[in-house]
Every structure is written in structure tokens, then in C-alpha cells.
């Protein structure tokens, strides 16, 4: 099966600019995740979708970050305006699990988008 697709692979922007990332999960995967991974740290969950509904966005900085998953398939994550501390790798992952609290399937990750804010 095709893996999780993410684009772009790299992005360099100046602070206060906006940026958008795109993710296409594995076909048939109900759950989609966006993670932020700062260098030297483990991934931090930003938002979790179940089909096209949000089930967890408690760690999403909603004043500048937004995400949507239209039609329950692909998703976009946007940052506006960007800050220096947003420099990180943004990882998208998907899973077959259809509800929170089910741990029957692993997450499948894309290669991520490396964002540098100058």
C-alpha cells in the first residue's frame, strides 16, 4: 500500500509569514494526526482527527495554527503568522483505529516537512 504522503519536504519562511502543509494518509485510515517534532525531542501531538472530526486539539496553538480534514481524507495544517519557535519538523501520521483509546494498529508516518523560520 502507498504510504503517508506529505508536502512540501522543506520550507523556509520569515517570521510573521504564513505557511501550509499538506498530508494524504493511507487509504482507508480513519484517524489522522499532526505532530510537531522539535530537534532532539519526541513528537508532540498538535491535532487528531477521526474521519473529518477533531477529537483532540488541546495542544494546538489556536491563535496561529489551524488544521482541517475535508471529506475525511487529506488534511492541511496552517501556521499564520509564523514565529521563530515554530521551526520544527511537522509529521503527519494515520492509523486504522476508528476510535480513541483503541490501540490495535500502529501509526504510519510520512517523511515530514522541515520548517525553518528565520
Amino acid at each position: 500500500e502507498a504510504g503517508v504522503a506529505q508536502s512540501p519536504r522543506y520550507k523556509i519562511i520569515e517570521k510573521r509569514q504564513s505557511v501550509a502543509f499538506w498530508c494524504n494518509p493511507i487509504s482507508g485510515h480513519a484517524t489522522l494526526y499532526w505532530y510537531q517534532q522539535i530537534l532532539g525531542q519526541g513528537p508532540k501531538l498538535l491535532i487528531q482527527f477521526q474521519n473529518n472530526g477533531v477529537v483532540d486539539d488541546s495542544q494546538l496553538p489556536k491563535d496561529r495554527f489551524s488544521a482541517e480534514r475535508l471529506k475525511g481524507v487529506d488534511s492541511t495544517l496552517k501556521i499564520q503568522p509564523a514565529k521563530l519557535e515554530d521551526s520544527a519538523v511537522y509529521l503527519c501520521a494515520s492509523s486504522r483505529d476508528k476510535a480513541q483509546g483503541l490501540y490495535n494498529s500502529p501509526l504510519h508516518f510520512g517523511n515530514g516537512t522541515r520548517l525553518t523560520v528565520t
Binding site: 503517508v4 494526526y33 505532530y35 532532539g40 525531542q41 519526541g42 513528537p43 508532540k44 501531538l45 477529537v55 483532540d56 519538523v89 509529521l91 501520521a93 476510535a99 480513541q100 483509546g101 483503541l102 490501540y103 490495535n104 500502529p106 501509526l107 504510519h108 508516518f109 510520512g110 517523511n111 515530514g112 522541515r114
Partner: protein, 110 residues
Amino acid sequence: SQELEQSPQSLIVQEGKNLTINCTSSKTLYGLYWYKQKYGEGLIFLMMLQKGGEEKSHEKITAKLDEKKQQSSLHITASQPSHAGIYLCSGGTSYGKLTFGQGTILTVHP
């Protein structure tokens, strides 16, 4: 909130040596995953553990989950340079919260 602590933070071994990475949770885990990450790339799934006392092996890598489901270990036998990378554990609670450890950087010298 649930936290996962990994140890050691980094590990340098000579090729052929055995090694163990630990992952400890402050709460009971209902799913525990191990991933490997190459620098600048996504995470690759290694193994999943769900039951207390469960142990799984794939090639030279063995993962275990203790009976209390709060601690897991990843053991590599006869390490090779191809094993080098960042190893991350990820665990889920009954509330559906899935978090990651901070990762263990493994370097294997030929």
C-alpha cells in the same frame, strides 16, 4: 498528563554488542509502540505491545512490556551499523492519549 521517559538519552556501542533501551510511564499503558527514526525522516514502526508480560521479537530486536504495563524495554542483540538511529517509544492511556518519549539516539561503530 502522561509522560514517557526514555533512558538512556544516547548510546554509543561497538558493532556486535548488545544493548537495551528503556521506556517508563507514570500511568498504565494500554498500547505501547516502538519506532525507529533516521535523522530528517519519518518514524518507522517496529513493534506493538498490548498485554502485560508480552514480548515480541523481529530479527535481532526484542521488545517487552512489564506485567504492570508501565515499563517497556527494547533489546538489540549483536548490533550492526544499520541499527543506528533514534528509537522512540509511544504509549496510549485508557483516555485515548498517545504520547511519545523523547527518544534515544543510538550510534553503532563498525
